[in-house]
Amino acid sequence: MIQKTLDVSELPPFSVSNDDPLWWGQMLMGVIEVMLFAIMIAMYFYIRLSVDMWPLPGDQLPHKLLPTLALVPLALSFPAAWVASEGAKQDNRGKMLAGLGLNLALAGAFLAMRIVEWHSFNFEWKADIFGSVTWTILGLHTADIIGDMGFTLVLFVIVLTGKYAQKQRLGVHVDSIVWYLVAGAWFPMYVVIYWGPTLVGAPR
Amino acid sequence: MSGWRKGIPGGMLAAGVLSTACAGHQQSALDSAGTQADRIESLWWFFLAVLSAVFVIVIATLLVSLTRGHRGVNQEPLERTHVPSEETERNLGRTVGVATGVTIIILFVLLVASIGTGKELSEIGGKQNSLIVEVTGNQWWWNIRYLSEEPSEILTTANEIHIPVGRPVMIRGLSQDVIHSFWVPNLHGKRDLIPSRVTTEWIEADHPGRWRGQCAEFCGLQHAHMALWVVAETEPQFEAWRHAQLQPAAAPQDADTQRGQQVFLNSACVLCHTIRGTSAAGSVAPDLTHVGSRLTIAAGTLPNTKGNIAGWIADPQRIKPGNHMAVVPVKSEDLQPLADYLESLK
């Protein structure tokens, strides 16, 4: 025989906010990616410390201009993602579209600059360990960025068609979290890859 | 539950222990013949004593807890409340706290003992009068070089190391291909041989004898057959051995061995093997200049006899399937002379 009840009928059947478990799902996925990058950066230092010269003889240190410029659209993509996320919470279609669209455009700009930059590398991943670790870190991070952009694009299209409900708004809201983590992880990695050799000196 | 039944596994353990304990003392960490192995063995017995005592206490507590009559606690109506009295919990808290404290102390004692031994081990060796032996791991044999400042004193052999008793010997470890591990338990722990790196350890025999070692890092198909022998002898004996090893190969004395030498020099053997004093100067296989003097062939796989040498040459793949010595076709009438020749290279 039941004695007591706890009635929850007054509670909403959804919550487009950080209270939803999906926030945790996205956050953990972002943490996994960041962990991956952290290990790769640790590897970068390990490899660097196991040789005398860095970059290895024959390899040219990647030019700093383009990647530094690329930081601008990347940084601007953060407030764009935030706008989309707030728009989702407020059920504001215009804000969502603006935020998602701007985020995509800025991320695309970042990506384009990066791909242009790659053409100027004078070393391949199979040339030596400097090439291997540099290309692998860049490749992995780019794959993550593209994947996240893919998610964002799908959400953008869904919002565009207008056929979305609370569930999709939640998706827009939490999509930004992975972006913050994956794109945010780039800033320290940028320092390591482009400034590391200069700052920490070449011959050991 | 009756306590005696827990003794059954104990009996089995004893059977297992006895059946191996009475085996020979080759390649054993429990039969130290060197300074380093000795230190480690002492540490081992200390750890074993302390941790066995811990084990006995824990299991005894378990058995008692199952069989005791729960006096006092019997009064607590656990079936209904599922919560023991505060006094019980307080007593337990104290006991667990003390046990944890004791555990921490024991662990720090073991830690200090372990670090102390490690420190001691690194302080032995490096003294005057030491010998440097460079060991290069290959799939599935050991290239041995005795280093010296005099180029004419550098000695190359394979699969067997001789050392003088009482002198510290530095084993300088390299690898030609994959990761191997140099291990002669009667003398010291192991050291991995890692390509592109140099690892070192010091050994020092404290009495004459011969001990078997084995590669202790999985290195492919014939990892199971990558053994070696270390022979410790008195200083004069060692000098004699070293001097003999530095000489070029003995010239064949009779027709049979001369024929054998001819067969060798005309076969593919020379592409891989070196016999100093002849034209054979291959460098990817064991140096055969004094192969007759070794205790075993094929890295400890077979005792060194004429029959085994012949069998090895005839079909090395049968003895060590997958090893890197090609099957060189040797006519059956040439086989014995060849084996005789190699056996004569003492």
Binding site: - | E79, I104, G220
Partner: protein
């Protein structure tokens, strides 16, 4: 004890109607479309959990058969039962199967089944991700065994050190198959870890504040965080370093081009050591659950137990170099890892002491699950103590890579994880099937397993000290290792007999076991409030927590949740610390997309074994799958 809900005709929740109507609506909301299609679209945690358990057990049998084959070859010196190549493939596959295809997925599967029930909710937070993870695990295992059965099984040890596993010394597809199989199982583990964390933090029964969380749920929460932090490392080691070196000629671990084989070891073991605690920590949760029910009291020292779990987890990330003591690293550096490895014994010790205290003051009932707990204590403590020996650098220099280590890890793995697992099988079988297992047979199983295990692995300590190295397909007679090896082989067959008895018990009890009812053990946690076996929706009315052991609370203190919709898959989201209800959540129903996506992505990964360029179509396939997965369906009804 009286269950919460009795009478069908009664009305608990005015919104839901009578209990009968309520049940019918729940059944409809949680049902599956048809038998075959339903099978591939299932997303309930009990269905997916059960699949994990059965598949992982099948791999356990495969690993066990491999073990028997190895032991037969090693039974006496110079044996010719297996060739060198065959033996090397078999020991590698045995280790790989047991670690990646049995131990971790089994622990994940048990958690997927038990955690939502123990938390008092209806499903995990991400049901489709759950299904996807399972299919990835299955496909990974099939990939490996496709290789094994076509003589392309890996043969480089379960951790595949380069350069041996690199392109030069291991040509062919063997190692590639191994490396990509890891990707599958790693994705699977990450999926489960993600959903368990989200579920345990956000979907608990109301009022199940953190200090009331069952110890098993603490275990799984902590273990899941370990998975999140450790698994990326194995991906870097196997898929990035090894596979890229092998397929696109990078030079991470190629010594000829400046790469360092030790780098691989560091990254692998950074994952590898936490991996063994990932296997072990859930078992500790099993032990606590079983001990509580069999001593009629809660485990003593709850905060200390939680600390011990958390301490083991975090210190566990600082031990990895103890697998590399023989590589010539600076001793002072290695000694840091000795110190940490010894300190972790404190956390295990605390657990043992608390359980002993619980047993000491509890009203002990000796049923089969409790036997396995006692076996665990005996075997695991011995294994843990040999671990402390291995933690010492000088000692490890002698026994590293010998059968002494094999003895240690089988003691801790089988004693520390498999014995609690078998106890858990016996303990939760009534919940999963509605029937009790045979007690007498269970006790016989236990003794055969216990005796067989010690007979097999105790002599290995001596063998290691007497010079028997690991991973050798044969050994010469003059070493004197014959007797101990023969004894070990006999023991292995005895273990197999125990395993067969267990299977017989499982199968026969389905038909002839005594009906179990909801709570045959009179245990305290919430899974025992559901029917046995639980319906797809677990509970008719979600329970409210009344302490750590709601089922032991007096009936007056217990409550249920009302006001939820029963015509759709609705669950309750609660706050992290105090489990105050925050909002309701509608979970997705059956879906074909997880299976399809796993098929596409899995197929793509299999392709990458043959060429790097397969990654591109795999990405596209993943995209297609995910779009289908997330594309909004016809107007989803989200009215309150």
């Amino acid at each position: 004890m009286t269950p919460i809900i009795e009478a069908p005709g009664e009305t608990v929740d005015p919104r839901a109607g009578t209990n009968e109507e309520h049940r019918k609506k729940l059944e409809r909301a949680w049902s599956r479309p048809g038998r075959i299609f339903g099978f591939f679209t299932a997303t309930t945690h009990t269905a997916i959990g059960m699949r994990y358990i059965i598949t992982a057990f099948a791999f356990f049998l495969a690993g066990g058969i491999e073990a028997l084959l190895m032991r037969t070859q090693l039974a006496f010196s110079n044996n010719h039962f297996l060739s060198a190549d065959r033996y090397n493939q078999i020991f590698t596959t045995h280790g790989t199967t047991m670690m990646f295809l049995f131990a971790v997925p089994m622990m994940e599967g048990m958690a997927v089944y038990l955690v939502p029930l123990m938390l008092g909710t209806r499903n995990v937070a991400f049901p489709r991700l759950n299904a996807f993870g399972y299919y990835m695990f299955l496909f990974g295992g099939l990939l490996l065994y496709a290789g094994v059965l076509t003589n392309t099984g890996p043969d480089v040890g379960w951790f595949a050190y380069p350069p041996l596993s690199g392109p030069q010394y291991s040509p062919g597809k063997r190692v590639d198959i191994w490396a990509q199989m890891i990707t599958f199982t790693e994705i699977s583990a990450l999926c489960v870890a993600t959903e368990l964390i989200a579920t345990i933090l956000k979907m608990r029964a109301p009022r199940m504040s953190l200090n009331r969380l069952p110890l098993y749920c603490w275990s799984m929460l902590i273990q899941s965080f370990m998975v999140i932090f450790a698994m990326p490392a194995v991906m870097v080691a196997s898929t990035i370093m090894l596979l890229l070196d092998r397929t696109v000629a990078t030079h991470f671990v190629n010594p000829a081009a400046g790469g360092d084989p030790l780098l691989y070891q560091h990254v692998f073991w950074f994952f590898g050591h936490p991996e063994v605690y990932i296997i072990f920590i859930p078992a500790l949760g099993f032990v606590s659950s079983i001990v509580e029910a069999h001593t009629r009291r809660g485990v003593f020292g709850y905060p200390a137990m939680v600390l011990a779990l958390a301490g083991t987890a975090f210190i566990g990330f600082g031990l990895w170099v103890h697998h590399m003591f023989a590589t010539g690293l600076p001793q002072i550096g290695e000694s840091f890892f000795t110190a940490a490895s010894m300190m972790i014994a404190i956390t295990s010790g605390i657990q043992i002491f608390c359980w002993l205290a619980t047993i000491w003051t509890g009203r002990v009932r000796m049923h089969t699950p409790m036997y396995f707990v006692l076996g665990f204590i005996f075997i695991f403590v011995m294994g843990g103590l040999t671990g402390v020996m291995l933690a010492s650098v000088p000692l490890d220099w002698q026994v590293h890579d010998t059968f002494f280590v094999v003895a240690h890890f089988h003691y801790v793995l089988i004693g520390g994880a498999v014995f609690p697992l078998f106890g858990a099988f016996h303990y939760w079988y009534p919940k999963m099937t509605g029937r009790m297992m045979n007690e007498t047979l269970g006790k016989i199983e236990f003794w055969i397993l216990f005796i067989g295990f010690n007979m097999t692995f105790f002599p290995m300590h001596i063998l290691g000290l007497k010079g028997m190295t690991r991973r050798i397909y044969t050994y010469p007679p003059e070493m004197g290792w014959d007797n101990a090896n023969a004894l070990a082989t006999v023991g292995a067959y005895i273990i197999a007999i125990g395993g067969i008895l267990f299977i017989a018990n499982v199968l026969s009890s389905r038909k002839t076991g005594a009906p179990a009812g909801r709570n045959p053990w009179d245990a305290g946690t919430l899974e025992w409030a559901a029917d046995s076996p639980p319906p797809p929706y677990n509970f008719e009315y979600l329970p409210v927590a009344a302490g750590r052991y709601t089922m032991w609370a007096p009936a007056e203190a217990r409550a249920v949740v009302t006001g939820m919709r029963d015509d759709r898959r609705e669950v309750l989201v609660t706050s992290i610390m105090d489990a105050e209800p925050q909002h309701r959540l509608v979970l997705p129903g059956s879906s074909f997309w997880p299976f399809l996506t796993a098929l596409l992505v899995g197929g793509g990964f299999v392709g990458t074994v043959f060429g790097f360029n397969w990654y591109y179509p795999t990405a596209v396939a993943a995209g297609v799958g995910l779009i289908g997965w997330f594309w909004p369906k016809a107007p989803r009804d989200l009215r309150p």
